[in-house]
Symmetry: C2
Subunit: 330 residues, 2 copies
């Protein structure tokens, strides 16, 4: 198996991905890693030592967070991201991983790797942290606007296979994000999706509200990409806002610092439970190959988790399994 | 001016509304209050004393949280909520306030009071707490599913008048909730709404993401009722979840309790900044009369804030002002 890593994306690039690849290369000796990016920076991050099952590919072209995704992917064929996607498209790698510009990763997935013939529109599926510490696979987090009820059904089939074979959840509980739990709730698309999901062979537990979702009532929750993206950014924004408020409280004066000494560890544990980095990356489902997004603020541990999930995506034949599940569906 | 209060809805009914009315009746001597509900319970909550400008109307029929809203409003004409709405419909009161079943309040507003002739579809507009402590008026929070771009424009006009004349914001910054800040972002309805808002005379600051909204970048944010309801429940759910996690940390052992003694006050202040109760009630805009929803978990202070806002809604002729603004629009 070959994994290709865009080492230049994300807040802690290239150190975090390079450290994670070094660890993963030692743990997964059956896997070949290709790391793409600035050779000098990567060698510095690797402290001069590259394991045998790791190959370097040099480029100094990068797609930044400010680049317009589709244009950047078209005009920067020598960027680390596009080179990674091209390797998957050509069959030289089984899965690509990047922590860069989300829009650009989706564009690279769609334009360079292409979509599965059975999937009309792809979906991004990150794990949102929940208060029970388990997390929920939420999709679509913003790949597709104006999804149809049929699209939501496709997401549900794909995500169920991913949750089974990558997240190790034997029978994922599937929920439909809605404004109430009653069967008749929602807008037109969601009501129709409710019917399709109810008639499907999936383990559909019905409508779930955002509050219950955060409490961990479902393993997989499907929604429209507009709603999913708003949910993602809101959850992250509130988490950051509240924890930075707590940090302010704990460092404001001498008494507070004593308190921080007494409970700092426990607050850290609370924060960790609500930390995106613990839950690995987000697959871009519906792409005709492995395409994983690591969280932009991934440290080396988050990167490692994403690499581990990417590896399971390949070794457990998730692409084939979700394609097969899609065929049962129709 | 006459305000009618459904004293039987909400978690702390009838004590919280009755205490708040007693205070408001003392502060606003020009206002007449009608309190509807179980006379015995209300008299007990009022400790036997009712101010001169307060009238009691007895009923023991209540619409509960479990009642199906439209059916309940139709079948329970003698419920405290329907009696309150009927007084507004008949011109016996200028504004009604309830902390009960949100769906039932909306149904009572629509079916009994009716909508403004210039408004196709009404919107619920709560103030969402933001990290700068100011809050943001978010609408629609779930009154209307499948809103059109025209509907969103209507919400923007109504909310701008409400923010000006009730929340005392002289030139409310208006944002459109979106998945990115670039002009071209969003689903079909949101893109069209962007154009309409840009061409309007409103103080439109453009697209806002959920994260920025929580940081307080806008005073008013418009969105579809499906999205708004998800946002509301998610924000509330995360706030509750995190603060209950913090509470657990602070009470877990002896050391934690010492820490709680040192920083409990500051954490309370942080929590208060993120407290819905501080921001008053949510108007149901587009109804042909005053119709205010107090938060379900309102204590007497939150109730008082809602009564104060309801009073300004009437005394500042907000209904007339937003109707006039709607006419300029077309």
């Amino acid at each position: 198996m070959t994994m290709v890593v865009d080492a230049m994306g994300g807040d802690y690039a290239p150190n975090a991905p390079v450290e994670a690849v070094s660890q993963a290369a030692a743990d997964f000796t059956d896997t070949r890693f290709v790391v793409i990016g600035d050779e000098q920076q990567i060698m510095a991050a690797a402290k001069g030592t590259i394991p045998d099952n790791v190959t370097l590919k040099h480029t100094d072209v990068v797609i930044s967070g400010d680049d317009e995704p589709v244009r950047a992917v078209r005009r920067k064929p020598n960027s680390s991201l596009v080179m990674a996607a091209t390797m998957v498209a050509n069959g030289e790698a089984d899965v690509m991983v990047s922590a860069g510009n989300t829009g650009a990763i989706m564009a690279a997935g769609m334009l360079i790797i292409g979509r599965l013939p059975t999937v009309e529109r792809p979906a991004l599926a990150p794990v949102l942290p929940t208060f029970d510490g388990k997390g929920v696979l939420l999709l679509d987090a913003g790949a597709t606007m104006d999804a149809s009820a049929e699209n939501l059904l496709t997401y549900a089939y794909m995500a169920t296979e991913y949750a089974k074979h990558v997240l190790d959840i034997s029978e994922p509980r599937l929920g439909l994000l809605n404004v109430g739990t009653e069967d008749s709730k929602g807008n037109a698309v969601v009501k129709q999706a409710f019917t399709l999901l109810s008639e499907s062979k999936l383990n559909f537990i019905g409508n779930v509200e955002a509050r219950e979702m955060m409490a961990g009532i479902a393993d997989v929750v499907v929604c429209d990409g507009f709603v999913g993206n708003v949910v993602l950014k809101l959850a992250e924004g509130i988490g950051l806002g509240l924890f930075s408020g707590i940090k302010e409280v704990l460092t404001s004066d001498f008494r507070s610092k004593i308190a921080a000494g007494l409970i700092g560890g426990k607050l850290k544990a609370l924060r960790k439970r609500y930390d995106w980095a613990e839950h690995g990356g987000a697959p871009f489902l519906g792409v005709n190959g492995g395409c994983m997004k690591a969280h932009g603020s991934s440290n080396s541990r988050a990167w490692y988790m994403t690499l581990a999930h990417s590896r399971k995506f390949v070794s457990n034949d998730v692409l084939e399994k979700l394609t097969a599940a899609m065929e049962v569906r129709t």
